[in-house]
């Protein structure tokens, strides 16, 4: 009886921890679980009426920005100063995702009057 009590005392915290871990993983949706390897947040910039919206966005390093083209003409997203990065032309309803590593001014090289800004917050 005494031996059983000792085993019981050891089992209770182990079982509680196991139940807690099961409950935690059960609360997350499948999409959240799939996104776990990507620690950054996902932001969206919509391209509509020949503008980037929002035109200025503040994010953290490692976050991602998805650009979605809602216009009836093609656009691209190109880093302005040195053309360090660029999407290929996005046709209407196409999207492109950028993983942010540093602050940048960007523009559409097809319509150079369309401009946007990404600021990486410390």
């Amino acid at each position: 009886m005494k031996a059983l009590n000792k085993t019981g005392k050891l089992l209770i915290p182990v079982l509680c921890m196991g139940i807690f871990m099961l409950l935690q993983s059960g609360c997350k949706s499948p999409s959240e679980r799939m996104e776990e390897p990507h620690k950054g947040k996902l932001f969206v910039v919509e391209i509509t009426q020949m503008r980037f919206s929002p035109a200025e966005i503040a994010v953290s390093k490692g976050d991602k920005i998805q650009f979605i083209n809602h216009d009836m003409v093609a656009h691209d997203i190109t880093e302005e100063a040195t053309k360090a990065w660029s999407s290929s032309p996005l046709q209407p309803d196409q999207a492109w995702t950028l993983e942010v590593t540093e602050s940048a001014n960007y523009y559409c090289s097809i319509h150079p009057v369309m401009k946007g800004k990404i600021t990486v917050q410390p």
């Binding site: 009426q49 020949m50 503008r51 009836m72 003409v73 093609a74 097809i110 319509h111 009057v113 369309m114």
Partner: protein
């Protein structure tokens, strides 16, 4: 004393004529029907594609060629949307006074553009693009949109205006570069 560009007085006259002809003609006559609005809208886009085609043949300026490529692609995209919509609405575009006026002016402009070469062509082309987009924006905003009955056609025209304004700003940007 700054030397005056010999093309300037000629261009000012052409630009004024174009603005007057397009905007004035559009306002002077009777209300347009939706098939007539569709015809004018498609024709205005087609004309700028034809101006771009002349630029591809006559220009070697990178900025001018990039601009012409954007005009060609964007106006083709707008025509594709317009054709899809009128097909869905079972509307057959109908030629009218505005379409005819646009086509007559375009023929004169094309002849004038084709008579220029090199830098003179680049300046004539981009000056015309600035004037043409100003005139088309005015016609779309004050004539075509108000006179369109069908809501989907009206929405399409409203959605085209920001693209036309971006084209105008782009043309003015190139104009500043090549008039330096």
């Amino acid at each position: 004393m700054k030397k005056q560009n010999p093309l300037t007085p000629k261009l000012i006259t052409v630009v004024c004529f174009l603005l007057f002809a397009l905007y004035g003609t559009a306002q002077q006559t009777s209300k347009l029907t939706d098939p007539e609005v569709a015809s004018a809208a498609v024709t205005a886009n087609q004309i700028d594609i034809e101006f771009a085609a002349i630029a591809f043949q006559h220009s070697q300026n990178k900025e001018v060629l990039n601009f012409a490529k954007t005009m060609s692609n964007d106006h083709k995209a707008v025509i594709a949307q317009a054709v899809a919509l009128v097909t869905k609405l079972k509307v057959t575009p109908k030629t009218n006074y505005l379409t005819q006026s646009l086509l007559a002016d375009a023929e004169k402009t094309k002849k004038r553009l084709q008579s220029n070469k090199g830098e003179a062509f680049d300046k004539a082309y981009i000056d015309n693009e600035v004037a043409y987009h100003k005139a088309v924006i005015a016609a779309v905003e004050t004539v075509l949109i108000p006179q369109t009955a069908n809501s989907e056609l009206k929405t399409l025209l409203q959605n085209v205006v920001p693209a036309l304004k971006a084209h105008l700003a782009h043309a003015e940007m190139v104009q500043k570069m090549i008039h330096k």
